[in-house]
Amino acid sequence: MGASIGGKTVVVVGAGIVGAATAYFLSRSGFAVRLLDANAPASAASGAADGAVSVASKRPGPMMTAALAGIALYRRLERDGPLGGLFHERPTIMVAEDEHEAETLRGHAEALAGAGKQLRHFEGTALPSYLPSVSAHVRLAVEVGEEGHAIGYEVVRRLIAASGVAVERTTPVLELVKSSSARSIAAVATPRGPIEADHFVIAAGGGSAELLGLSGTVRPRKGQLVVTERAPALNASLPGSLMSCRYLLSKDAILAAGGAAGRRFGLVIDPLRTGQFLIGGTREESGDTSNDLAAVRIMLASAVRLLPGIARLRALRAFAGVRSATSDGLPLVGRVPGYDNLIVATGFEGDGICLGPLMGRTVSRLIAGEDCELDLAPFAPGRFERRSLVA
């Protein structure tokens, strides 16, 4: 719990979900916020996300703890505002397609149960009535309750509107300008001139790295996704989002370096509220947003194998988002060492949507000198030694 400075003006860099949430919570706490984006709200990862608000794929630890709090916050914001209508509560259904996967899934389910998640197991004769449209070769399905889906760019837009802050678009931050004491940041330099404030929050996803000298610590990790046309009856036949248990392996932080050999595929089939399906996705050490046929082919082939009815649908759109990943799989959230008014919140990898509102609230509390209610120690930005974090 750090001391707060008396000033009430804040510059938030990055109008993705973390920045938008930070602007919202800061505004509610009486701060004057300027929200800057190099491009426009949700123009990077937040606008190309799978939208999962979930702990299903997590192992016990700080990320699971955070995600549980993240989900709880979504439910509250959905109920009490400002996210009414944007959080679609639906379970995550983890499926095992062979015995080896079933074994892995059972072990994983135990850990989820231990963390307090509501689970239901379905196997054998119970499967077809629970999942009538899923392939018969599925061995085990574990329904993880209290999960949901939110569309990143919708949440961003709603949070910004509720904050009353006007986004300053096409305003990239070129560098951080230190004060004369060199112990705080005086301003951010932009093409339109410097912008001063009492506090600075860097929530710029992949853009945070260069600003804070973190390149190498925060790396881009691309994920390809496909959206299908509508199929209302098939969509309604799924009680929740399907997640192949192979997804558990896909998130392993230790990946082989680069190239096609290093990429992972983890199948998720999410029935969207429009009646469409969102199918994902890959994890690739890359920062571009192109789609390649090989990846799309593998994703869709796996999807068809699990949910055969998908085969007769058409793919409407393919896209890719770039997550911000760290080498230890934990984000950077907290005060930047050496500066008394600089906070970073980035590196959320695939959990940006789930954790966005929570991290916005946490950062706001940090600045206000309030209890964060979340143990930030595992996310300490200073844990990556050997480099100063501000170039």
Partner: protein, 84 residues
């Protein structure tokens, strides 16, 4: 000279060889193709496969009627009549 026919919502629709499903339906006076998954009206519109409003289900897959050749053995249904 017509050489084939297919069923459409209980009616028999004749077609010339090589003609599209859309034009066969149009000649038979079928202007309404039902609704799509978003609840919007489906009907022939642009004729070049661009507008996605002349959709029909052929063999279970949704296709543009204006691009799809009619055939005797095609299982052609309205999108809203196709299960799923």
């Amino acid at each position: 000279m017509t050489t084939g026919s297919f069923a459409w919502r209980g009616a028999t629709i004749p077609f010339h060889p090589g003609e599209s499903v859309a034009s066969a339906l149009m000649r038979a006076g079928v202007l309404q193709l039902g609704q799509d998954g978003a609840g919007c009206r489906l009907r022939y519109f642009c004729g070049i496969g661009a507008c996605q409003s002349c959709l029909v289900s052929v063999g279970g897959t949704i296709v543009e009627a204006c691009l799809t050749p009619a055939g005797d053995d095609l299982n052609i249904k309205a999108v809203e009549d196709e299960d799923g």
